[in-house]
Symmetry: C2
Subunit: 228 residues, 2 copies
């Protein structure tokens, strides 16, 4: 594992009060990103001394961040042996997708009931932009907007618990989705599903939206199952 960017702390001598957000949050987000983006592969031990030095933080706040991530399910705590990056089996992923599917179906139904027209219009904007990124074959931005759309739909449901859990599952699966690079035809199929989604949402077609969201995630499993 190569160079890892230290957190934004006194990069230079000037000690201006740069840090606006609490260090804890910064650390959590940073570690989460490192795990999602593969800087820390599954099974890797989180070496407190070493990792702390790389990030320019002492062990105490680092340990606190690790405990936080442990509760999120991204790392596993082994007594007297520290923490390791959690490894997900294909079944684990399938399980998560099953739950996520159910939650998105729920979100879709609720969204059709509670969303305002303006909110739906915003999702439409995200959708159109995603289509642009698709046409430009910009996979990274496509993925990002894809996630944003699903997150946005979850938010439309106006259910905080649903939003939280949905976000948690998305985070856990993000690492997987980074890997699953489907071929052009499957990608096109995913796009068609998204077209159906936005159509159903704008029509406030509860059952239609719920159905396509479920189907979309079911197909997502097909797309990643090979590259397990």
């Amino acid at each position: 594992m190569d160079e890892i960017s230290p957190l934004q702390r006194r990069a230079d001598g000037s000690a201006g009060p740069i840090r606006r957000t609490a260090l804890h949050d910064t650390l959590v987000n940073h570690l989460r990103d490192m795990i999602i983006e593969g800087d820390l592969e599954p099974g890797t031990r989180l070496h407190e001394g070493q990792l702390g030095e790389q990030l320019g933080v002492s062990r105490t706040p680092l340990r606190e961040a690790i405990k936080y991530l442990a509760s999120e399910g991204l790392v596993e705590l082994v007594p007297s042996r520290g923490a390791i990056v959690k490894r997900f089996s294909p079944k684990d992923i399938h399980d998560m997708l099953t739950v996520l599917r159910t939650l998105e179906e729920l979100a879709g139904r609720l969204a059709c009931e509670t969303a305002t027209d303006a909110e739906i219009a915003h999702v439409r904007e995200l959708h159109d932009e995603m289509i642009d990124r698709y046409k430009a074959a910009d996979r990274l931005q496509y993925y990002k907007l894809n996630q944003d759309i699903h997150t946005a739909i979850a938010r439309l449901a106006q259910n905080s618990s649903l939003i939280d859990i949905h976000a948690m599952l998305q985070t856990r699966l993000k690492r997987i989705r980074f890997i699953g690079h489907e071929g052009p035809e499957k990608w096109a199929a995913a796009i068609r599903e998204h077209e159906e989604m936005i159509t159903a949402l704008e029509a406030r077609d509860k059952d239609g939206l719920s159905e396509v969201l479920g189907r979309h995630l079911f197909n997502a499993w097909d797309r990643v199952r090979d590259s397990l």
Copy 2:
């Protein structure tokens, strides 16, 4: 706030290596219980020095446990002001119950497919014992077995993600359920629903089990909404 039992650490002078489980887990569970059972009411600040002294632990592991619970959603971290016990609004509870309902419906369907006869028989045992506790008007044990049954059904689904999230929501709602003491007639209705449940499960009636589980939780909302 009155006497709080210190963790099992050198209560006397003898320093025998009593502690078998990691302190972190012990602390997390202890704090969780304190929150659920109302020793720490919503809005209470978790005073690190004071709380640590009460429990006989230094601030470091205590802070780690608090961060863990923050990720679980039981406490809220306020920058530079520590942690406070999270306060749930009626809408929050309704939101949680909505999600929980969807998850239990899913669990019911999956359980009918994947559970072994032995596992179902075990749930039946729990059920019968719960009925006994009901007839004995033993509310505490009734509640405990009630939760156990719902947890058991979630486990039958053999979906680790579902089990985890279900457990998390149950934990968050446990504090609420402690309050919601319904009257005799509503209690009897809940019992009838449970009878339906076990019948549907033994018949492996997916739709039936799913339906009654959903209805049961919907009614649960009715039972607690008054004592918000």
